[in-house]
């Protein structure tokens, strides 16, 4: 008997074909309307034109060069932001003293949108690589920090009681009980943080960049190349999708003890 959720259709249909139908339809309609002359090509080129530009940018190596620059920036910023977020989240979660001492500061800083830091960072750090990486680090810091902090505070007291009964020392409690129990929250934080880091790359590359996907998009606008702009936009989307997929896969591999991974189905 087929399970009710898949409605008798094959899992292949649900996993691979169904998600592709909507984008395929959108592209087809867009192409047809473009061919009929509904859109001005200087504003919205047709999907096929964008695909041709994508092909030539790929073949010339230009796109991959920009992508590589942006990815390096994102990974650098994300690594710093996630490390600081994990560290501070753990410290504040484990120490009531630190939590009280810093909660007002973090509460005040958290609502500030990353983009608001850009002028400040330019003033402080100049227009070098440092300020771009810092923008990304700030963006990815918050979700990691918040999730780790909540994870530590949410450690089930029942588990801590078991460790207490078995006379485990603080180090064992931290490494074998608290840290594993926050892994699902940590992964949620990392997943959101990486998404934000990647999404803020364009903002970061507003700062006097001379390469990178964000730069490519901004430059294409200046020289009126909407096809190149859209190739850049699509590249950001596809890369973000791929990164998210990889994080979810990593979580499923590492947390196979968790029957309800927060990442859900990849």
């Amino acid at each position: 008997m087929p399970s009710p959720r898949t409605n008798g259709k094959s899992p292949l249909f649900y996993r691979l074909i169904l998600p592709l139908i909507v984008p395929a339809l959108v592209l087809a309609v867009w192409q047809v309307l473009s061919d009929k002359g509904f859109f001005r090509t200087s504003i919205l080129p047709s999907p096929l034109a964008i695909a041709r530009t994508l092909q030539s940018l790929l073949l010339s190596g230009e796109l991959l060069g920009h992508l590589k620059t942006s990815l390096l920036r994102v990974f650098e910023g994300f690594f710093i932001g996630a490390a600081l977020g994990t560290g501070l989240g753990l410290a504040m979660g484990l120490s009531r003293f630190l939590d009280r001492a810093l909660s007002l500061v973090t509460g005040l800083l958290r609502p500030i949108p990353t983009i608001a830091w850009i002028p400040v960072l330019i003033l402080w750090m100049g227009i070098d690589e440092g300020s771009k990486v810092t923008v990304i680090a700030v963006g990815s810091f918050w979700p990691v920090f918040m999730n780790v902090l909540q994870g530590v505070k949410g450690t089930d007291p029942k588990y801590l009681e078991v460790a207490k009964l078995l006379e485990k020392n603080r180090w064992v409690v931290l490494t074998r009980v608290v840290l594993p129990s926050i892994l699902p929250s940590l992964f949620t934080g990392l997943r959101v943080g990486l998404g934000i880091a990647w999404a803020s790359v364009v903002g970061a590359e507003l700062i006097a960049a001379s390469s990178g996907i964000g730069y490519m998009i901004m430059y294409a606008r200046e020289v009126s190349q909407p096809d190149v702009m859209l190739v850049g936009v699509v590249t950001i989307g596809l890369t973000g999708l791929l990164m998210d997929f990889l994080v979810v896969r990593l979580e499923q591999r590492l947390l196979k003890w968790n029957p309800h991974p927060e990442g859900g189905r990849a």
């Binding site: 078991v162 009964l165 078995l166 485990k168 594993p180």
Partner: protein
């Protein structure tokens, strides 16, 4: 578990919880003397303080008044000579059954010896072959078996069981009752089991301490002098069960001093 040589003595134990409206007495003057190797059952309604008494013996909470001693040593906190199993298994979901049981070993246990102990207790609770399974892959009964093995791994003299079968279905519960008897008879440690199930109490206990509620006191201590295995439908069994039933629903309350 290992054979117990120490008396568990509970003397004048009182426990109050501080509430905004004032002190809430949970236990009032409980006296109980559990012999080494005895299977003692604490029987009472929900909220009568029987679990609180067990937590005091475990050292998870301190008594407001009175003393608890195991042998010569007053209980002042958790200790590995007292193992505990809760109603819910409380297995760490990120550890396999084997790793969970190994977590119960005393810190500094020799690695080889520890491995042997874990395998022995896996077998003792009937989980050989499931050592590599994560808790979510095990049934409720199997999870509780693993929790029991974890509590046994540090060789406690006293095993404290807080309604350990309460969340299991009736058939699994009966099976687990027989298992715990088997393990107790093999290991000869002291067992203190908290339950609200009269049938379970009569089936398992050497003696049954019947508790009143609000605040909790011992109303009566009933010896069960029936040989094991006990037949739940035999006349003496039913007689004791009826006697306990009447304690709850007929006689006026008196206190054991």
């Amino acid at each position: 578990m290992k054979p117990s040589r120490s008396h568990l003595k509970i003397e004048g134990v009182q426990k109050d919880y501080a509430l905004p409206q004032g002190n809430l007495p949970v236990l009032a003057g409980v006296n109980l003397d559990v012999a080494p190797g005895e299977f003692m059952v604490l029987l009472g309604k929900s909220g009568c303080g029987k679990s609180t008494l067990l937590r005091l013996i475990a050292g998870l909470e301190g008594a407001s008044q009175g003393t608890i001693r195991l042998g010569e040593n007053p209980v002042e906190g958790p200790g590995l000579e007292r193992g505990m199993v809760f109603q819910e298994p409380r297995l760490f979901p990120w550890m396999t059954a084997r790793e969970n049981i190994a977590f119960g070993l005393r810190t500094g246990t020799d690695e080889k010896e520890g491995k042997e102990t874990v395998e022995r207790y896996l077998a003792l609770v009937g989980l050989s072959g499931f050592g590599g399974a994560y808790p979510h892959q095990l049934s409720g009964g199997m999870q509780q078996r693993a929790a029991l093995a974890r509590a046994l791994a540090s060789h406690p003299e006293v095993l404290l069981l807080d309604e350990p079968f309460g969340a299991l279905d009736a058939l699994t519960r009966i099976q687990m009752q027989m298992e715990i008897l088997r393990i107790w008879r093999e290991r000869r440690g002291t067992v203190l089991l908290v339950t609200h199930d009269i049938d379970e109490a009569v089936f398992l206990g050497d003696r049954i301490a019947v508790m009143t509620d609000r605040p909790g006191t011992l109303q009566d201590i009933i010896p069960v002098k029936l040989s094991r295995p006990r037949d739940r439908s035999s006349a003496p069994f039913v007689k004791i069960r009826r006697k306990i039933y009447n304690e709850f629903f007929q006689t006026p309350r008196k206190r054991v001093k």
